[in-house]
């Protein structure tokens, strides 16, 4: 059936009157009860239109007819624009992958890039990872001309780490260019303590009790293995 423009216009308005809706319903051969409220009539009309549409019996200028529908669905889901390779700002950020691997990415503003590309410096650019107490420090040389992110096997879990990018000066002193915020490297082991803490809800009080491991329900963890030797296992 061809859908009357008026019906579309009525349905588009925020406040069609009950008379308009009754007339529309009549045109669509919908049987109404006297007691029906405006909301119920509108629901019935929408239901009918959906039915007609599903059965392919609806044509109207305002919504897509079959011709445009076919065209529409064949329309390409357009390829988005390529994203920027650099935001030209100094940035250094670490994300933990698991208890041994971390991912780090960095970006430089023009001034820093120019400095680090200096012939004297470019072969001495260093990336350092330091634990929160600056007790353990790992370092590696990085080539900033073809790298802006990297995965590192830190293998030191259950603590906070941060990263620093800089270069080694002639006197061997590390000159920091930028520093990341701390991130927490997940733990891979239980941390047995001498005391356990309990919170009394009624008293809103923390109570410390000595740990008695024989009273603990101990988890049974899965273990990986194979019969082909002790090379690195992939799960």
């Amino acid at each position: 059936m061809k859908l009357d423009e008026n019906i579309i216009n009525i349905l588009k308005t925020d406040e069609p009157s009950i008379q308009e809706l009754r007339k529309t319903a009549k045109n669509l051969n919908i049987r109404l009860r006297r007691s029906m409220k405006k909301r119920d009539i509108l629901k019935e009309i929408k239901k009918k239109l959906l039915e007609l549409d599903t059965q392919g019996l609806l044509e109207n200028k305002s919504s897509n007819n079959k011709k445009t529908e076919r065209k529409n669905t064949k329309k390409m889901y357009l390829e988005p624009k390529e994203l920027k390779k650099t935001y030209k700002k100094n940035k250094l950020e670490i994300l933990p992958v698991n208890y041994e691997w971390i991912y780090i990415f960095w970006d430089f503003d023009e001034k820093t890039k120019k400095l680090l590309n200096n012939d004297k410096i470019k072969n001495n650019v260093i990336l350092r990872f330091c634990d929160e107490n600056d007790f353990r420090i790992f370092e590696t040389h990085i080539n900033i001309s073809n790298m802006n992110n990297y995965y590192f096997n830190l293998n030191d879990s259950n603590k906070n780490y941060y990263a620093r990018i800089g270069y080694l000066k002639d006197d061997g002193i590390f000159k920091e260019i930028m520093k990341s915020k701390n991130i927490f490297i997940p733990s891979k082991n239980p941390s047995i303590k001498e005391n356990e803490e309990w919170f009394n809800i009624k008293k809103q009080k923390i109570i410390s009790k000595p740990v008695k491991l024989n009273t603990y329900i101990k988890p049974i963890e899965e273990i990986k293995g194979n019969s082909f030797g002790n090379y690195s296992l992939s799960s």
Binding site: L50, F184, E196, Y216
Partner: protein, 531 residues
């Protein structure tokens, strides 16, 4: 006599997929399938249990993206159109299968009445908004509905961007309030992603509890004394519940889980691929690409068998399997509770069993019937009863205090799924967008157009943060779509940012607002607090 408590937790989530500029968009079917096969069948299970006076408690999360889709009129209209088309297909199938195997004919009739029932629930009983149904059951005290991070953003990767965490949590809270008319008690953290100090933010927004994976209790600041069988409280006074690996494996495991039984319906054999193209064309992608219709006539038979050799499905045989499995599961839980009671003097063991909601019905067609049978069987025994996190918390007097370990419920238990060579390119952009959003959120003028631009920028950032895109890039299912969606949101964000600083293109702004119309009441100022 001490009873064990069983917490059935269902996590319902779909990424925000809405393409108002297309009459048909294949990925919108994710939502339509979930409504037809999971959400409405679950509500029907609740209806039947209530009618028969069967007590049941269950916790279900709805992510804000899913809540927004379920309450969006254009998607509701598209869904009804899709559902009516499926009913038409089931009618054709009744005619067609008369000439084929009687088992197919039986199933065709089953599908027809099943779909008619779904239409009745969707259209008449819940007036197109199925969240009303879940609200009703929550208000009656049967279920507890919890929320989730706004766009299912992966919070452990936002620890250096506190404002981004807050924005995810504020949208979690506001969207929930809009639909359930109260503040959420609990939150399901997307991907169960937790890292120490996240509880600080949960406390800030008054979340009373959250869920973690098992090893969060094993590798925390100190081990949980009762493993995963009692909740703990964090330093910031938020309760945490941890997943019971035993229950998960019994139901979820692809090797030994119930859904792999030979009598259950085979998910991958669908008439969308089996029927002639000419016949099925009106019911698949208009481009002619075959897709699942939800009408399936075969059973698993044997997991190793190729699809073409699968035998025909019989729903009555599957119902027998459901009944057996529900009884078996209860029996396993009883044994587990007995074992735990012997190890926990004076305390009730609490078994927390979380699952993706879509497992029940969508992936495992008989899943909702399993849940129904489970609760029917449960009321016959006096050793276990179902409960909810809030009820458990109310009964606590003393609780162990610890910091759960960094963890997720993804493969390998950490962040590998969301950060690897296939998806690491995303994070540089998300970080930059967060920084820009924090800066621009300080804008305090009254220009309504600039405010619209900033609100839309906030939405684009939230949508780009959805963990689904990184997940899909790893699993390799609809990678092209995930990559495009990510790039689109990033591009739109920067396009808007350019408008904010330079020339406003009103027409384009309106178009982006129409395309990514989520969180109507979102205020860009939620990004202001970055401490």
């Amino acid at each position: 006599m001490r009873k064990g408590k069983f917490l059935f937790i269902l996590h319902s989530h779909l990424p925000y997929v809405r393409h108002p500029n297309y009459d048909f968009f294949m990925e919108e079917n994710w939502l339509f399938e979930a409504i037809t096969e999971t959400y409405l069948p679950l509500l029907d299970v609740f209806n039947r249990l209530e009618k028969d006076n069967i007590p049941f408690n269950l916790t279900i999360s709805f992510t804000p993206t899913l809540m927004e889709m379920l309450t969006t009129e254009d998607l509701q209209v598209k869904y009804e159109k899709h559902l009516r088309a499926m009913i038409t297909l089931s009618e054709l199938e009744i005619e067609k299968t008369k000439e084929e195997d009687p088992r197919k004919y039986k199933m065709a009739k089953f599908y027809n009445s099943y779909l008619e029932r779904i239409l009745f629930l969707f259209s008449d009983q819940y007036s197109h908004n199925i969240l009303k149904g879940f609200k009703e059951f929550q208000d009656k005290g049967y279920i507890e509905v919890v929320t989730c991070n706004g766009t299912h953003g992966f919070l452990p990767f936002m620890m250096n961007h506190p404002a981004a965490i807050r924005a995810q949590l504020i949208t979690a809270k506001n969207t929930y309030y809009k639909n359930f008319n109260k503040n959420p008690e609990g939150i399901w953290l997307a991907e169960c992603g937790y890292t120490p100090d996240l509880d600080k933010y949960l406390n800030e927004f008054n979340f009373n509890y959250f869920f973690v994976d098992s090893h969060a209790f094993w590798y925390g600041s100190s081990p949980a004394k009762y493993s995963v069988y009692r909740p703990i409280i964090t330093k910031n006074k938020v309760f945490a519940f941890s997943r019971d690996p035993e229950s998960s494996e019994q139901v979820w495991s692809s090797d030994i889980g119930y859904p792999g039984d030979s009598r259950y319906r085979e998910f991958y054999r669908d008439i969308g691929f089996d029927r002639s193209l000419e016949y099925i064309k009106p019911f698949i992608d208009p481009s002619g690409m075959r897709i699942n219709t939800g009408i399936k006539y075969h059973k698993i038979t044997d997991k190793k068998l190729p699809l073409e050799l699968k035998e025909l499905y019989d729903i009555d045989e599957a119902f027998i399997a459901v009944s057996e499995h529900a009884k078996d599961f209860i029996s396993k839980k009883r044994s587990q509770i007995k074992r735990l009671i012997s190890m926990m003097p004076d305390l009730e063991p609490i078994i927390v069993a979380p699952f993706d909601t879509e497992l029940f019905g969508h992936w495992w067609f008989e899943g909702p019937y399993f849940i129904e049978n489970f609760f029917r069987e449960l009321q016959k025994n006096d050793e276990i009863e179902s409960s909810t996190p809030s009820k458990i918390i109310e009964s606590l007097e003393e609780v162990q205090m610890l910091t759960p370990g960094a963890s997720t419920w993804g493969a390998k238990g950490f962040n590998d799924v969301w950060l690897n060579k296939s998806n690491d390119w995303v994070y540089k952009h998300l970080s930059e967008m967060s920084d820009i959003m924090v800066k621009t959120s300080k804008y305090d003028d009254k220009d309504p157009t600039l405010i619209r631009i900033l609100n839309q920028m906030a939405k684009e950032l939230l949508l780009a943060q959805a963990s689904d895109w990184a997940f899909i890039m790893t699993t390799g299912t609809t990678v092209e779509y995930a990559v495009k969606r990510t790039k689109e949101h990033i591009n739109r964000f920067f396009e808007l940012f350019y408008m904010f600083d330079n020339k406003i293109d009103e027409k384009r702004l309106k178009e982006i607002e129409w395309l990514d119309k989520i969180f109507d009441d979102l205020d860009y100022k939620i990004f202001r607090n970055n401490c």
